[in-house]
Assembly symmetry: C2
Homo-oligomer: 234 residues x 2
């Protein structure tokens, strides 16, 4: 099966969680919207009045006759097919539950720089962003980090899965966006740090991360570096 992934071509964003799974598995896929013809096709799908299974937003994956949207749903579908999740129902539901919690976490990362409206510029919501970022750093981020640290502790014997890839991406993105906060927070979350290093060293993934296919973090994406939103350096 050759997959077609549709996602915004200039950011990592939500699509990156799918890209990491496809790359790590060495799957055959095309990142469609990276050229202008595919980009137009993505917009046509999003705006189609006649398409029965029209997605609300990217990313979406074309797999044969299926058109699947919502990042966690795509990973749920791909997991067993890519060898990144077992076929056992209980385990699949558990991994999916973790992925949905990562989805929630990611929304909260996004909202540190867009607390008022996704359609507005960051510059139009800077004071609100500062307040939200404080709450995120002090209350929400530790809660998520503690939770997933405990998950890794209990799951230490579990088979490698797409959740390991997504947790790598969360740490990678948080390091980029909140370097000062993370340099302190990582000291108490050794298993998340270890998972990050382990994922980065996987041969296919290391090659991908070093390639031009990996889009750099930037200020259009979900993880953004605005020093005023990070903890002050001491």
């Amino acid at each position: 099966m050759r997959y077609q992934l549709y996602y915004w071509p200039t950011i990592q964003g939500r699509g990156e969680f799918v890209r990491l799974a496809l790359e790590d598995a060495g799957a055959a896929y095309a990142d469609m919207a990276r050229d202008s013809a595919g980009y137009k096709r993505m917009l046509n799908i999003l705006e189609s009045k006649s398409l029965k299974a029209r997605p609300f937003a990217p990313p979406f994956l074309k797999a044969g006759n299926l058109l699947i949207a919502q990042t966690a749903n795509i990973l749920f579908y791909l997991g067993p097919r890519l060898g990144l999740a077992p076929r056992d129902e209980a385990r699949r539901l558990w991994l999916h539950q973790l992925q949905l919690t990562i989805t929630d976490w990611l929304v909260e990362v996004h909202d540190t720089h867009h607390p008022i409206g996704a359609g507005l510029y960051y510059e139009d919501q800077k004071p609100e962003s500062k307040r939200r970022a404080v709450d995120f750093r002090k209350n929400r981020l530790p809660k998520f980090l503690d939770y997933f640290e405990a998950v890794l502790k209990h799951d230490s014997s579990a088979r490698f899965s797409y959740v390991n890839l997504s947790l790598f991406q969360m740490i990678e993105g948080l390091r980029y966006a909140f370097p000062s906060t993370m340099s302190k927070a990582e000291k108490k979350h050794g298993l998340l740090v270890e998972n990050h290093a382990r994922v980065a060293a996987r041969p296919r993934l290391a090659a991908y991360l070093a390639s031009e296919k990996r889009i750099a973090f930037n200020r259009q994406g979900i993880f953004r570096r605005y020093p005023e939103l990070d903890a002050p350096r001491r």
Copy 2:
């Protein structure tokens, strides 16, 4: 199978989407946290250091040996078992995709009164809430309503599913929280209105909605009526 649902006992919140499915199907279940012993048990599960599959947050469902969290994940599991989703993979993924989009929509409803922090009071984020609510009413709400109106149009021959129940709950909640906005918006979304009426008339659901089991909307829940966040009445 007798299910155990765990959710905050004083609000509809996310748990209500699961309650509606269980009630509509006439399933055997206990809403555990509605008495103080069950409530304590819920907190113990959330704080457990030894539980391997500890949920990040309610709602969660105990189904035999399974402990399943994340609303959409619970509905994905229950769907075929309650006769509220087919067993066919393509259709299940599509319904789940819709449910995840409803999940996203619900977060945006919540954030109209909590744009800065879920742990802060509304009273501590009123000016920010007003700005966020304007963006929600003008940009986001129409986008979601248009999307699901189109879904219902294309899906008119589809079997009744838990997504119909969840769309009922969205309209019900939005009517409570934004009566002025909705009285206008509903005129262009006849299928969503029709779906709401059809669900409300289902015998088991009508009995549930009229009973004391149905918690009233209130200012601790996700849908909240703050007139200053609604469109001005003309």
